[in-house]
Amino acid sequence: MKKILWISLLFITACATGGSHEGASQNYLVESPEKWVKLNSNKYLIFTRESAFEQYILIQQRPVDKPFKHTKRTFDKGMLPQEAAEVIIDEIISDRTILNFRVIENAPAVVNQYDGFKVVFTYKNKEGLEFKTIYYGFLQGDWFYNLRYNAAENHYSEKDIRTFERVLKSFQIDASQSV
């Protein structure tokens, strides 16, 4: 039922994109990928080429002190990128619906000029479908920003990764926007 609602929401609010977009109620700007559709919400900005169950690029900004759903660990403003990556991995591992979780890469990374981390991982959902995610994240002031490319195993493509990298490169924090 949740899925149906989600898909309906996607089609109702989706629109063709291109050009610069800011997250709704957020203080960042990104260049939207051409010919991908956008779903904007208060929680995240999401683009998909076909459908979100096949692939998506997601950009999210969350308060540093906001509790996670599955782990009781929390961010701390003074955390190193490695420590922030640990918290994200622990949140995913503690989610009991994420199966066969495997970290392929966990390394420091720079998003625009911000020091952060890059974690690449695979997992299966309860239906046995395998997904692969490239997850960039960094802490900046009171916020944790993350940009992800997620695709089902048979939809994961180098072309989409290049698109994601262009989005990543265009990411900017808009200091003029107070949140």
């Binding site: 782990t71 009781k72 622990d90 503690s94 009991r96 199966l99």
Partner: protein, 386 residues
């Protein structure tokens, strides 16, 4: 007394209460259509669980648990049900059994128990659900399928969402008051017949009650939905008082037991740490140290708890535990990296560099290698600048 308990157990297993069918379980000729369906669902769910990466792989531990099951299993049904025990990597306190006799115990509950009798208490309870065909009774609609039962499913955790069959779901979510009470009482009779101390059931309940209070949860899975834990404890006390006055000490040899369980306790403490359950993680690490063994990994975990939970205020305590871990096992790379991280954050570039370098010398390819190499470059640069 032993004869009395054996007689009591035989009565339970062969007659049961009015609502329980007394046929031996899984005797092919006696299988109903519902039972076949239930077993097919159980086999599917078992295959799913065991391919999902959540099984804790430790052959020796499984063998040990299987020995306890064999000792508990009444000889009258030994050939009819082949119980298996698997351990799930999960720090929450739970255990459940599929109708085909496969018992799943979370690392969380194994790590909390103090002796073999307490494991026997848990296993005998789960075995009774199979021996008395509780899942089948639930699939007949006495428990499962009712609006109350289905409504309950959404509230007891997302683990249930992984499994599909209503009949087998009951084994996770708990059965009715009558069936849970039966599992408690028959379980105690099985324990006593096998030479375990049934009074340890009360200690098992104490662990679960403590978890319930600490984690602020309504009822852990194992308690099921009915009756409430207080009532189950009271039922067990009464049963103990009337039937088991003369039982011996059982296998209540805590130190030997904890030595055997050391690895699973520490692995579970790591899972607790990942879930941010710091008090549980600390209890696990300290439990291992209480056996009188100095264990480097236990001290490292205590260091991690203080580094992760307390932030800079607890760095001193964290460093002391890491240093203790290094003193016990100088070749253990993880505490070197962790101390390096603390010194790095404190701006102690020379000390940080020293520990990062010693970490890489001990383990040339640690999981955090890319980060460590970055820290080393900065340490060198900042060390020169200062």
């Amino acid at each position: 007394m032993k004869t009395f308990i054996l007689t009591l157990l035989l009565c339970f297993l062969s007659v049961g209460c009015a609502t329980t069918r007394a046929l031996p379980v899984y005797e092919e000729s006696g299988l109903t259509v519902e039972e076949k369906k239930l077993l097919a669902s159980a086999a599917e769910e078992q295959a799913f669980l065991e391919s999902s990466g959540i099984i804790y792989e430790d052959e020796k531990l499984e063998e040990y648990l299987h020995q306890i099951v064999s000792r508990l299993q009444p000889s009258s049904v030994r050939d009819e049900i082949h119980f298996r025990v698997k351990v799930i990597k999960d720090p929450h306190l739970n255990a459940f059994v599929l109708p085909n006799g496969t018992i799943y115990m979370h690392t969380g509950i194994l790590a909390r128990l103090n002796n073999e009798d307490q494991i026997a208490a848990l296993l005998s309870h789960e075995m009774t659900h199979v021996l008395k065909r509780h899942a089948l009774m639930s699939s007949w609609g006495r428990d499962a399928g009712s609006p109350a039962f289905l409504g309950h499913l959404g509230k007891i955790g997302d683990f249930l969402a992984l499994l599909g069959s209503i009949g087998t779901m009951a084994s996770l979510s708990g059965y009715s008051q009558e069936l849970e009470t039966e599992a408690d009482l028959v379980g105690m009779a099985m324990m006593s017949a096998a030479g375990y101390d049934p009074k340890e059931v009360l200690r098992l309940f104490e662990h679960l009650t403590r978890e319930k209070e600490e984690q602020n949860i309504k009822e852990p899975f194992f308690f099921g939905t009915h009756p409430r834990v207080e009532r189950r404890i009271e039922n067990c006390r009464q049963f103990l008082g009337t039937s088991f006055e003369e039982t011996g000490p059982g296998q209540n040899i805590e130190r030997l037991f904890l030595e055997r369980m050391k690895e699973v306790i520490l692995d579970n403490a790591s899972l607790d740490l990942r879930a941010g359950r710091y008090d549980s993680a600390r209890r696990g690490a300290e439990k291992v140290l209480k056996t009188g063994q100095d264990d480097a990994r236990a001290y490292f975990l205590l260091g991690e708890i203080f580094r992760q939970r307390g932030g800079s205020a607890d760095y001193g305590k964290a460093k002391a535990f890491y240093e203790k871990a290094i003193s016990i096992d100088p070749k253990y790379p993880d505490p070197h990296e962790a101390i390096g991280l603390i010194y790095y954050k404190e701006g102690e570039w020379v000390l940080a560099r020293q520990f990062f370098e010693s970490c890489l010398a001990l383990s040339p390819h640690p999981p955090g290698k890319a980060y460590i190499e970055g820290y080393l470059k900065k340490c060198v640069r900042r060390g020169i600048d200062s």
